[in-house]
Every structure is written in C-alpha cells, then in structure tokens.
Subunit: 136 residues, 2 copies
C-alpha cells in the first residue's frame, strides 16, 4: 500500500480512482516523472484518465506539500514524491533526468563519487527562495 495514499486519506482527501492511480504512480523513491509520464503510466491502470485531471491532481499534491515540483530549464516540470526527507537534486543539463542526492559537508564541494550516479559534474547552483517585500 502506498505511503502517499495513506497520508492523503488521513488528510481527508476526497478519494477517486483517478487520484488513487496518480498517487500510486508517484509512490516510491527516486521518482521524478513529468506530468506527461505520470499520465502515461496512469493510463495503463485507468485508460480513461485525462491529462487535465493529472495536471489538476499534481498541482494539488504540490499545494499539499506531498510532492515537490522541480523545474529544470525550459523543460516540463518533474514531480518528486520524496517531500518528507530533505535532499538535493542532480540534474542532467541535456535530457533533464533527475537524481536525488544527499551531500554531506560543504554543499558547494564536488559531489562524492558514490553520489554522482555516473554524471559528469559541471556546476552547483544555490537558490534562496522567499517572498519579496511587495509580495510578503
């Protein structure tokens, strides 16, 4: 049984077959699917599910802080259900593939070998997020 599903039920989320399937597709570690990929997998279990519903559901999961939305360049956003354990992302600049990493020590130092997943490293980027004075 899906952990994600479990939590959502607990939060009184109205359960439908579409939502169940989306939550099931997202459940697990190292999952970083685009909306379209989620839809493709969802369709295998529930052929009538629409893209709009997948988008709506993903948006809601992000709002509920159950899924993290990761934007990579101009590419389609990816959805990461691993919202409960802090981690960083290793992103392929060419195809957009994402891996979770958990660097220890100085975040700006090179990633340790076992956290590189065979990637050729090129840069580290730090982004601080918050609300600007006019939006706060």
């Amino acid at each position: 049984m899906s952990d994600l599903l479990e939590r959502l039920r607990g939060r009184g989320w109205r359960m439908t077959s579409q939502r169940r399937v989306v939550a099931e597709v997202l459940d697990g570690d190292h999952v970083h699917l685009t909306a379209d990929e989620v839809h493709a997998r969802a369709v295998q279990r529930l052929p009538e599910i629409s893209r709009a519903t997948v988008y709506n559901t993903l948006r809601e999961l992000v709002t509920l802080d159950e899924v993290i939305e990761v934007s990579t360049d101009g590419r389609a956003k990816r959805y990461d259900p691993n919202a409960h354990h802090p981690h960083q992302h290793l992103v392929c600049s060419r195809c957009g593939t994402i891996r979770d990493v958990h660097p220890t020590g100085d975040p700006l130092a090179a990633l340790p070998e076992e956290e590189r997943f065979g990637f050729t490293m090129s840069e580290v980027e730090v982004t601080y997020r918050g609300l600007c004075p006019s939006c706060a």
Copy 2:
C-alpha cells in the same frame, strides 16, 4: 559604453542595431529581465525590433556564456548579464523577482540580513548540474 557590447565586439560578434540594443538593455548589475521585458525596453530604442530577434539574440548570448539564463518555476525565464562574477540567486516564490546574493560561509545557513533585500526567507535549494551517463 556597455561592457557587454565591448566584449561581444571583441569576440567578433556581428553587430547589428538590434543586437546592440539588446546588449545595451541587458548591460548593468542586478538586471534580471524576462525576454518580454527585454523586448519592451528594446522597442523604446528601436521600434521595429521583433520578439523573435530578441529571443534569438538572448539564446546566443547564453550560448556565448555572456548571459545566464535563470528559470524560476513555470514562469518565463530571466536573463542575467552578470555572468562574470559568481553569485547565487534570491527568488520571490510569488512574483519571480530575482536578486543577486553573495553569501559567505555555509551556503545552507540563513542569508545575512544585508543580503536579504527585505525578503522573507523560506528555503534554500541546491542543484548540481552535469551530464548523465547516457548523455555524456
């Protein structure tokens, strides 16, 4: 005279009035305009300049590593001409406004007061970029 323009000329970049205007609009510190904003300002100096040319020129400046492309969420990308001095970004989660910051010490620590520009801080995100095994 624009530093950016200067450098581009030095690199043998073919100079046209459109390119000159785009480079002039981008020149300076703390500039983080969207393509559309660049176009709007460019039009004030050169009314006939097209959006396509602005996009083409921006893409080229990014390729030349003279401008950094910053993607924030699903919003329009912003272009940062400050490509020569390493720095990080402070991004407003609501309106997408960007500020350059130069944190010292632990990047994951809270930003010092004088680097917050009045922002309400909420999170720090580290992204490692490179090429995955299949793309390398």
